[in-house]
Every structure is written in C-alpha cells, then in structure tokens.
Amino acid sequence: MENMAMALDSPVNDEPAVTEETKVSARDVGVFYGEANALRDVNIDFKVNQVTSLIGPSGCGKSTFIRCLNRMNDTIDSCRVVGSIIMDGRDIYSRDVDPVELRARVGMVFQKPNPFPKSIYDNIAYGPRIHGMASRGGELDAIVEGSLRSAGLWEEVKDRLAEPGTGLSGGQQQRLCIARAIAVSPEVILMDEPCSALDPIATAKIEELIDELRQNYTIVIVTHSMQQAARVSQRTAFFHLGNLVEQGDTEHIFTNPDDDRTKAYITGRIG
C-alpha cells in the first residue's frame, strides 16, 4: 500500500528536462496483412526521454504499429510494412539493418507477462549472455542486479534468484520482463499494454517505473486506459481504424483535442 501511495503521489506529469531530440521517426508507414491494409500513412516522431502513448479503440492498429518499431512483424509471414522508420538517422527497414541487432537496441515488453520458464537470474542474464555483454561472471551478476534494481524488483527477489521466474506474481513477472528488456541496455523500450493483465496496485508500480525509466530511455507505450496515458506519457497519439488521427502533448490531447474523433474517444463516445 505504501508503494501505491507513493506511485500516486509522485508527480508523474511533471515536465523533466525535455530534450527535443528525436530518437525514432516514422514516415508514411503502412502495414498490410496479405491484402488487408491494417495501418495507413503514419507519421510520428518519438523523442528521447519522453513517454509516448498510443491510444485508440481495439483494432485501430496501435499494436501493429508498435511492433513495426522493432520489426517484430517480420515473424508474421503475411505481414508487409511500407514507408520508412528512421532511428538515429538510419531506416530500420533498410537491407543492411539486422533485425536481431535492432531488437537488442529496441526492447519490448508484452501484454501478457512472459518470463522464460527458467530461474529469475537466467531470465535477466539470457539477453546479456547471447550478446556477449559480460566477459566475467561478476559482470553478469552486476547486470542482473542493476536491471532488477532499475525495475524495482531487486528487494523482492534478491534472496530467490534461483527460483523460477514463472513463480512470481503477475505484477512481479511483468517487472521481471521489464528488467529483462533493460538488461541488454536498449535505447528504446516498447510496451504493448503492459498493465492490461495486472491489478491496480501492480499497475501503479509499473507506471511509477515507467516514469523512472524515462530518464534513460525513449519509451513507447500502447494502452487501453486513457487515465494511464494521461498519467505516464508526455505525448499521446490517437489511432482510429488504421489511421493516426491526432498526436500532440498529452495535456493538449486530453483537454483540447483538435479532431472530433479524438474528442469522441476520450470522452467515451467511441471505442
């Protein structure tokens, strides 16, 4: 309870030192599943040290879009992406970009907590191991501890690192997944409805964590909860029926949206 109170008290939308440096920008991005056009002409910039939330009714294409940012859609045979997504000046869909390398730089947290059926330690250590990040055992231990600390999980699990990650509670599992994503020191973290399977207390902890992580990462979060978008993000983009309808500062979107559809959605008339 104490933690939740803290989460609610923390000034989530308090503007930190915002650098207006763009990390990722999408230009005319469209996605096709076979013949079906799931997403059209998306143009959006994601800025360093900011949380951008993607909102919109079910099936609007926001999850499809976030999965373009680390080329997770490559694993779906029928999926085709057009347009360009520029990260640090390079199109991530160009031929010379290796999706495996890209995914090490763009971490992802999924809707349902999906820890590996391995120990807590191995869950975190897996990424650093396959990327050869630790040459000595001590370094790996340090990465594991640091990642778990960043995810606010260290105090809860430090005495049972050898126990399976699947034995944790839902909220802890999701923080474990966040720690796993952090462990490979990505630059961007994508979160696809990270709190949809969690209770309000666990949700509050994750939201608090997202705000802390913002200091070091560029964060994109898909959420169904408009309250969550308002709490955690600095910028918000509203998707509807495969179109990016409106984007802007979160405060602006939620108080004075320009588009009627956005207004209808945030006031609960559609969606």
Partner: protein, 433 residues
Amino acid sequence: MTDQVVDIRALKPDLSPERISRRYAAERRFRLYGLVAIAVAIFMLALLMVVIVSKGYSAFVQTHILVEVTFDREVIDPDDTNDPEVISQANFRGIARGAIRKMFPEVTSRRDRRQLYRIFSSEIDFQLMRMARDDPSVIGTTRQVWLKAGADIDMLTKGFIDRDVPESNRRVNDKSLGWYDRLDEQQLVSRRFNTTFFTAADSREPEQAGILGALVGSFLTLAVTLVLVFPVGVSAAVYLEEFAPKNKWTDIIEVNINNLAAVPSIVFGLLGLAVFLNFFELPRSAPLVGGIVLALMTLPTIIIASRSAIMAVPPSIREAALGVGASHMQTVAHHVLPLALPGMLTGTIIGMARALGETAPLLMIGMVAFIVDIPGSITDASTVLPVQVFLWADAPERAFVERTSAATLVLLVFLVAMNLAAILLRKKFERRW
C-alpha cells in the same frame, strides 16, 4: 432477422423440476457411458493378461529329475590337468547315460534304454560338462544332480498330457509313464526355475529354447532405429516447423509425411528387401537392416509428434526471446527445443514401442530365420521378440505353446517399461509456465 417483435422479458427460462432433472439425467447417462466404455476396456485388457499369464507362467519353470552322477576322473580328465579344454572334450554323454542306467538296472534292451534316455533332455551332457568345467573339484566325486527332463516329460508333469488318451495317440508311452511314476514316487521329480529360457537362443528342442537371442536382437535393432530416427526426425520437425517457408512444397511434404505414417508396415519391409538387401547387399537377417527399415517406418510418426510438440510451445516465449534480440536459431535452440523436448521424447518412445512390436517388415528382410546363436553385433543374423513369438506359435511341439505365451509376456513387460519411461521422461523434463 425476423419481423416478429419478441419481448424477451416475457420469456422466462424454464426452470421446472422436470426439465432440470432431465438435464441431470442426461449428465448421469453420459457418465455411465464413459464408465461402461472404461469397464469394457479394462475387462478386455484383463482377459488378455489372464489368458497370456495362465498359458505362459508354466514356461518359467522346468521339470528336473534328481540323478546320482559319478564324475569319473578316468573318463573326464585322466591326467588330472583340470584344463577346461580337456574337460569339455570328455564323454559326458556316457557318464549321463551310465547314471541313468544305474537308476533303472532292470532296463536292458537297447530300444528300452534309448527310450529311457529320452526322459531326459539331450542337453544334459552339456549340463554335466559345464558343471565339471566350471568347478573341477566335482571330478572324481559322486553328486546328486538335478538333470533337465525332456520336453514330453515336462509337459506330463505340467499336466498337458492326458493319461487317458490311448497309448498310440500319446506323446509319452506306457513304459515311460511307468518309469516317470516311479521317479515321482521317490520324490526325484521337481519343477525348478527355467534359467534356460532367459539365457539361451532359439532351439528345435523346446526345453533348450530361450528368449535371450530374440531379446538381444530386438535391443540391437531398436538401438539402430533410435540412433537413426531421433536426430533425423527432430531435425526434420524443427526445420519444417520453424524454418521452412509455408508454400506449396512444404504442403506437399506435409501431406506425404502424413501418408507415410499410414503406409502398411510390410511395404517398408519390401522396400528394405529391394533396396538394402538386393541393391546395397547388406547382410540378411541383420539388426542393421531391421533397424533401418523400422527407422523408416517410425520416422513419420516421430516427425508428426515432434512437430506438434514444437507447435505447442507458446508463442509468447518465442516473442520474449526475439524481443531481447535472440536470433531465430537461438530462439529455437534455447527456448523452443527445451520446451518441446518432453513431447518429442514421448513421441519417440511411443514410436520405438511400436517398432519393438513390429513383425511384418522384418519377415521380408529375413529376420524370421531360425537362429540358435545370440547375436553379438548389428551385422549378425538374429531375430526379434515378436518374430520369435510368431516362430514359436508356428512350432508343432506342445511345449512351445507355453513358451509362446511366455515370450509374449516378456515382450509386454518391455512395452510397459518403455511406455513408463516415456511418462517418467515427460514428467522430468516438463516445465510449466
């Protein structure tokens, strides 16, 4: 849909006791069907086991007759060398026959004596020779030895020969019966554990026939099968499930794999005969060829089982691995394969159990031959358990009936052991998430 306007609030659910009790009755009926089905299955299984055990258990004991044998040093080893070579060359037949004659001094004619010797197994010479060779201290002494009785006398003690049948139709004539009864009265007849059954290979004489040759043959054959089928089956499944593009060609391959799984096993035997024996000229009747043929036969089953095990790995684990930057290969090797392994092992062991029970394809490659030696390598001529059952079931001697059932029991024990191993392996490697 319909133009008719229905006021749903006016339509109350029918919660009358009759309707509810009908629903419960339907449930009870359904459970009853299930119980009946299981009861029938258990009854059939029990019947099978009762029939096999009741027919086969007598093969595990063998009639022996207590005979006073004089191991005459003059006959066996006159120079007192204790050399096994010398001892094994000695005339133990003479010693055995002398001992038998001493028990029945009144039998003098050649014909009667030959008949008298037939009460005992022709193997008793070897039995005595082995005794003397393994323990030379018996040489020069007189010992009470349990000598193995012949198959007909064995059948008589086990009650399979009817004394009321006229002598001309009986395997044991009146004279032999008289001798046997005399031995029995003196309490010189006993049924003892039949070690030969577990230590010998096939023989024309039922009392000398054993299961070990077929057992070793089955083991060698299955070893060849496993070595071939597991790596190939798992690799094929992993490739088809994880790496192969989904197109017309993979569809054709999939259809063909499913078809191959349903091909009658004798067709694989024909293939083995035509390709491995006639074309590659591999040795006939060998576990090597049997193993290859059974590997071809079980391969589709194992590919199908392995593919469904891979398919059952939740996509969220794949996404998690890809999400931290694992390559496709790493995702498969580190996460998908370990999680699919229990299913693959189960599929493999069930496939192997099927191969263990397979007879037809092996008939085509000559493993149905009569082989009296225990095979020492995968290129030696051998037979396998189910083929041994088939051979003994075909044999005319009454004593092979019980051995057929006993061999079936041994086969069943191995099948149960393999299926148990499948369950234990699955339990051991199973990981929950």
